[in-house]
């Protein structure tokens, strides 16, 4: 039995009458990268805040590193690293000073901080910016510095809340590479995201959250094979033709999703589906065949897209 790092049973968070997290259960084991996938407002951030002990739990049971967040928050925070959704670096400090102050907050001595800062600036590819002010750094650099700062205390568990939201594709790939390396060094990662490609890239296991509950759980591959057939045929029609065509597509595939701008057909054999479509006299403006992704899983589970 692998060691459980975070365990939640009936975990609930309410703000007044609003239920942000509605009695969820999950187990995160040592060394894995665990994802929380879901749209904005699904309850991901509320869950993260309970795990990082900065939001009291309303109901249920939660243990982090075997400790109770309600009474042992300080000891938990001593051993975890937190990368918040929004960068909250101290803009009055330089790059290196941000790490220094954070190290002191973690009760580290100056020599340890100095050694660790060198390693982390290297890791975050910011060595030549050590003495720069934070303000003029690019979005990707600030994000990498926020991650480096979260690692100053050599945490056993790193929690990243939407680590790449708002970054350009190149910056995202650099960041993914860093997170992948972190995982290889043995850290346990918890990642929230609303990007399915991010979850597929980084997570060993994930839960799909929607409206405060867990809609599904498994590895990305498991979820895709369980909730979405192998292939997806995406059809785009000329303006006004979609409604007519949809009527003719009935029963053509395992299942289908009709979106505002396109129709998705889930099938095990895209070629056969396309052939049949021609027989029925459906001629879309554009046809795209692709492998099913987590986004399809989400659509299947909730009837909605991840990013509206």
């Amino acid at each position: 039995m692998p060691e459980s790092i975070v365990q939640a049973r009936g975990l609930t968070k309410k703000f007044g009458d609003f239920v942000a997290v509605d009695s969820i259960d999950f187990d995160i084991v040592k060394g894995e990268a665990f994802g929380f996938l879901g749209p904005n407002g699904a309850g991901k951030t509320s869950t993260m805040k309970m795990i990082t002990t900065v939001s009291p739990i309303t109901d249920g049971k939660l243990t982090v590193l075997g400790l109770d967040p309600t009474t042992q928050g300080r000891s938990i925070r001593q051993r975890i690293g937190v990368v918040p959704q929004e960068d909250n670096l101290d803009l009055e400090l330089t790059v290196a000073e941000n790490l220094y102050v954070y190290g002191r907050y973690h009760d580290m001595n100056r020599a340890d901080i100095r050694r660790r800062t060198e390693e982390l600036l290297e890791f975050a590819q910011l060595t030549d910016r050590a003495k720069s002010q934070v303000e003029p750094l690019s979005g990707g650099m600030k994000r990498r510095l926020t991650i480096a700062r979260a690692l100053i205390n050599d945490p056993e568990l790193v929690i990243l809340d939407e680590p790449t939201t708002g970054l350009d594709p190149q910056a995202r790939h650099v960041l993914w590479d860093r997170l992948y390396r972190l995982k290889q060094q043995g850290a346990t990662l918890i990642i929230t995201t609303h990007y399915m490609d991010e979850a597929e890239q980084l997570c060993d296991r994930l839960v799909v959250m929607d409206k405060g509950v867990i809609a599904a759980e498994g590895s990305p591959r498991e979820l895709i094979s369980k909730y979405a057939p192998r292939e997806v045929v995406e059809l785009r029609f000329l303006d006004g033709e979609q409604d007519q065509a949809v009527l003719k597509l009935d029963g053509l595939a395992h299942s289908s999703e009709v979106l505002a701008d396109r129709v998705l057909l889930y099938t095990d054999d895209a070629e056969a589906t396309q052939h049949e479509m021609g027989e029925r006299g459906v001629h879309p403006e554009q046809v795209l065949v692709r492998r099913a992704s987590l986004e399809d899983v989400f659509l299947k589970l909730t009837g909605r897209r991840l990013i509206d």
């Binding site: 703000f15 990082t52 900065v54 939001s55 009291p56 928050g73 300080r74 000891s75 925070r77 001593q78 937190v82 918040p84 929004e86 909250n88 670096l89 101290d90 803009l91 009055e92 400090l93 000073e97 220094y100 102050v101 954070y102 002191r104 907050y105 973690h106 009760d107 700062r149 979260a150 205390n153």
Partner: protein, 262 residues
């Protein structure tokens, strides 16, 4: 880490910033009393002293002692307002702090200690300039730094408690316009409150800056008689300002916790 160590870590973070920005703050610490004492003390003072008004002491002396308390109030209220709003809403660095073993209360206590350091520095400079102007004697002026700091932190903690419950800086501007500025003008800094209409005098007695000004004056001008200060015993001022500081501190810690960890 003990609670005290945690608070010192917050002070240390402020010092890291201060190491770079101290030049600017030193200049403003010097310029502010210089301007006030030359305009109000020397220029206006000459006019008042030659008009035959009897304050018991030269106007420059009267206003310098009052301004020590009023300056402390302004600096103290300043530390409790905009930097706190920045930590919560603008730069949000308080959220980074509470992701470490530190908690919201540590931020409050740490910033409180830091404000004591800042105010002590500002007021020592103020005292020295007052001495150079010939307004105050060196010994009493330096002794008066302590009651002035107390006046300042009483405002820091209460203004912090207020700021923590606010959503934006409009309410902070309102606080300064309708709270701090009237106190600055009508609490006995520039004229004895015996000049006020009787009912306003009673109002003045319950305002915090009145107690700050009185306490600073009684320490800075040990020989002043009742044409300069009231007969109210010093301990009343001390109790008033200490109670205000402690209540503000306890409230701030509690309210900031609610705010940052909903």
């Amino acid at each position: 880490m003990t609670a005290l160590t945690r608070s010192f870590r917050v002070v240390e973070a402020e010092l890291v910033v201060y190491r770079r920005t101290w030049r600017g703050t030193v200049i403003s610490s010097f310029v502010n009393p210089l301007l006030f004492l030359s305009a109000m003390g020397l220029s206006l003072g000459t006019l008042i002293d030659s008009s035959g008004a009897d304050l018991g002491v030269p106007y420059l002396t009267f206003v310098a002692s009052g301004l020590m308390a009023a300056t402390a109030m302004q600096a103290g209220a300043g530390e409790g307002s905009f930097p706190v709003m920045a930590g919560i809403k603008w730069r949000k660095e308080f959220y980074a702090t509470i992701a470490t073993p530190l908690a919201p209360a540590d931020i409050v206590y740490g910033r409180f200690l830091w404000t004591i350091i800042r105010l002590t520095f500002i007021l020592v400079v103020f005292a020295i300039i007052s001495v150079l102007f010939g307004a105050l004697e060196l010994g009493p002026a330096l002794l008066a730094v302590a009651p002035a700091v107390l006046t300042g932190v009483a405002f820091t903690t209460t203004v912090t408690a207020f700021t923590v419950t606010q959503e934006n800086d409009t309410s902070l501007s309102t606080l300064f316009r309708f709270g701090i500025t009237p106190l600055f003008l009508f609490s006995g800094t520039f004229f004895p409150i015996s000049q006020l209409p009787a009912f306003l005098q009673k109002v003045a007695y319950v305002t915090p800056l009145f107690h700050g000004v009185e306490l600073v004056r009684k320490v800075a001008l040990p020989e002043a008689d009742q044409s300069v200060v009231t007969a109210m015993p010093m301990w009343i001022h001390v109790v008033y300002l200490t109670a205000m500081t402690v209540i503000g501190l306890v409230l701030s810690a509690r309210l900031l916790d609610k705010r940052l960890r909903p």
